[in-house]
């Protein structure tokens, strides 16, 4: 990905680089290697599964994932039974019954992830005035993408730099714009118990949930790249043939 970006940026695209797009006030997120960011790279399947668990057991207490459906989890290796069980933990409004009353029913795989709060006001009321954003597109919606999310999750400092006072209800984070973030450090060593035996360090959980959120933002990524390779190969052959045809047709002009 980086290689291709460099190549593209070097050409006519020089115009497109807009340095203003980095958010002010936070440190630049260090580059991290993500398998899905490679040119032909795919998501780390084990990380996706662990990341889904981190989202479910930690993030989902405050953050929604409203654009992703439970059934989508089957695309990353969850079985139908597992997905049904995960969905059934939440409730959604049912169709009005014969009396016209709307009752609650357990969610099914076709439902979208149920957000933790019914609306923004409820979310703010429960979080000291701060609004935990929905995470469906968070990796696409932040400059730096996955690097930024990972840096943010691991960028908390217990002691802020000298001379910086952290207001009540705020936390110091190296990478957040303005450095003051309402979200308390969400990840703690062994905060979750991974089924595959991976040690749940903060770094590990942060990486895994970032991969999961990258998938949530771009579920088409693997299909897109697979198709892209085929399309480019086809176009290379076609263009090569067209070049030969062009040469032959023009032969009598030169």
């Amino acid at each position: 990905m980086n290689a291709i970006r460099t190549v593209l940026a070097a050409g006519v695209m020089a115009l497109l680089v807009s340095p203003a797009q980095a958010a002010g006030g936070g440190a630049h997120a260090p580059e991290h290697h993500w398998s899905h960011s490679d040119l032909f790279g795919t998501f780390d399947q084990a990380a996706l599964r662990r990341g889904a668990q981190v989202y479910k057991e930690v993030c989902s207490a405050c953050h929604g994932l409203r654009l992703v459906a439970y059934r989508n989890l089957m695309e990353i290796g969850f079985s139908e039974g597992e997905v049904k069980a995960i969905a059934a933990e939440k409730e959604v409004p049912a169709e009005p019954n014969d009396e016209g009353e709307v009752e609650m029913r357990p969610a099914i795989p076709a439902d979208k992830f149920v957000s933790p709060f019914p609306n923004e006001n409820a979310a703010r009321a429960a979080n000291g005035g701060a609004y935990p954003p929905d995470l469906s597109l968070i990796v696409k919606a932040r400059p730096g993408g996955a690097d930024y999310i990972h840096a943010l999750l691991t960028g908390y400092k217990e002691e802020p730099p000298a001379g910086v006072t952290v207001p009540d209800g705020m936390n110091y984070n190296e990478y957040f714009a303005g450095n003051m973030i309402a979200m308390a450090p969400p990840l703690f060593e062994d905060g979750v118990q991974f089924a595959d035996g991976t040690k749940a360090t903060v770094e590990q959980m942060s990486e895994d949930v970032t991969v999961f959120l990258a998938w949530a933002a771009e579920p088409e990524l693997e299909e897109r790249k697979r198709m892209g390779i085929k399309v480019i190969l086809f176009l290379l052959v076609l263009t090569g043939l067209l070049y030969v045809v062009k040469r032959r047709i023009w032969a009598d002009v030169h």
């Binding site: 115009l15 497109l16 680089v17 203003a20 088409e220 263009t239 062009k246 002009v253």
Partner: protein, 442 residues
């Protein structure tokens, strides 16, 4: 007329039957098989037909997207995400359309700069050129309104900033226009609805102007890298098959670049903020337009706050100008000046190959446009403001001062006698022949 033969299929019975009633086949034969095209066009001439093809791609993908998109402030963002996630190959169609807008501008900007370099705007092609400027304006309006449709943060705030520009027009007219654009008193659902409607309409208006553009082109035919008129059959070749196949090859190269973006860097030219749903209560840190508007955005912001405003109220008194209006006038002036370019440049020589000074100023101007683009992306503060102002002044100076002066004082090189002479004469055309040769080989 050996080279320019009517195709054999014109003799087919059915073709002749139809053609007798609607001469569409005669038309095709005339505009493709018998249409004389300079033999020395280089690859910069590919970008006109490329632009036409991109327009078709945009219309086809756009109509498909419209089948799934919902133009309502509460649903627009989610309907786009539904296209990305649930519609079969929706992500592909949407990424083609999204990146296609950028590709369209890249192709058209190259097309325009080719015209500037080789003097394609000069007589007898002034109307052809002006129709092209009209197409550019229509493209800008269409692209701007299209960018509003996903109803992300940049959609909303871009729409707010750009529509507000019109409020700079004095005497109440501006406010009236803004209310008309908004369909109310803020950017809201009526705005989204009418932008959607117009975004669907304008591409077909573009098609109409493109037809006029090609019509005007086919009256006198293409300009060429040497910039002299064709002087007979030895200078020209039929459009088909020579340029159809050359355009096809160029299309292949273009599609490879296009596909690299679509499949491997689909959001490279976009802004992350547009994946955040529109929120009227939260302004993004930097409101940045799409890259293809950045040079014009820089010109808009280059006008100092007290410019004209200070002067006119003091010296003229009766004209109430605001700095904002001056900025808006400068921005639209940057395109308006292109309309009158054929009359600003009175040099009888078209091609830069025979204009040693204009050639340099052309490249300085091209760099100036890139600098403006950068300044449009950067925050308007400190040294960037100064650079933006200098680049803006230079932009206008290029058209209003340098080009008219060059026409008077530049010593142009001697023109070759005909196109076929430098191409076939093997060095007989001097510098032009040498320069033309490598490109022709391709």
């Amino acid at each position: 007329m050996s080279k320019f033969q009517k195709p054999a299929w014109l003799d087919n019975g059915l073709v002749r039957w139809v053609d007798h009633r609607l001469p569409i086949f005669t038309f095709m034969s005339h505009e493709l098989y018998e249409y004389p095209t300079p033999r020395n066009l280089n690859y910069w001439w590919n970008f006109g037909s490329l632009a036409g093809i991109v327009l078709v791609i945009m219309i086809v993908t756009g109509i498909t997207l419209a089948m799934h998109y919902t133009p309502h402030t509460a649903l627009a963002f989610d309907s786009v995400e539904r296209i990305m996630r649930d519609v079969n190959y929706g992500w592909l169609i949407r990424y083609i359309h999204m990146n296609g807008a950028s590709m369209f501008f890249i192709v058209v900007y190259i097309h325009i700069f080719r015209g500037l370099y080789f003097g394609s705007y000069k007589a007898p092609r002034e109307i052809l050129w002006m129709l092209g400027v009209v197409i550019l304006l229509l493209m800008m309006a269409t692209a701007f309104m299209g960018y509003v449709l996903p109803w992300g943060q940049m959609s909303f705030w871009g729409a707010t900033v750009i529509t507000n520009l019109f409020s700079a027009i004095p005497w109440g007219i501006g406010d009236w226009i803004v209310t008309l654009l908004w369909g109310g008193f803020a950017v809201d659902n009526p705005t989204l609805n009418r932008f959607y409607s117009l975004h669907y309409l304008l591409p077909f208006v573009i098609v109409g102007v493109v037809v006029l553009h090609i019509w005007a082109l086919h009256v006198h035919g293409s300009n060429n890298p040497i910039g002299i008129d064709t002087k007979g059959e030895q200078d020209v070749i039929p459009f088909h098959p020579y340029y159809t196949v050359k355009d096809m090859f160029g299309l292949g190269v273009f599609l490879i670049v296009f596909a690299l973006f679509i499949f491997f860097a689909p959001n490279y030219m976009g802004h992350p903020d547009n994946y955040i749903p529109a929120n009227a209560l939260s302004t993004p840190a930097h409101i940045v337009p799409e890259w293809y508007f950045l040079p014009f955005y820089a010109i808009l912001r280059a006008v100092p706050d007290n410019f004209i405003g200070g002067w006119t109220t003091e010296w003229l008194g009766f004209i109430i100008f605001e700095a904002k209006l001056a900025g808006v006038l400068a921005m639209f002036g940057a395109i308006a000046v292109l309309f009158v370019l054929p009359w600003l440049d009175r040099s009888p020589v078209r091609s830069s190959r025979f204009r040693p000074m204009y050639k340099w100023f052309f490249w300085i101007f091209a760099i100036d446009c890139v600098v403006l683009g950068y300044m449009g992306a950067l925050p308007a503060e400190g040294i960037y403001i100064v650079i933006g102002r200098i680049a803006t002044v230079y932009y206008f100076a290029h058209f209003l001062v340098i080009i008219p002066l060059l026409a008077k004082f530049e010593k142009t090189r001697e023109l070759p006698k005909s196109i076929s002479e430098p191409v076939l004469g093997g060095g007989g055309g001097g510098a032009a022949g040498a320069a033309a040769k490598p490109m022709e080989k391709a």
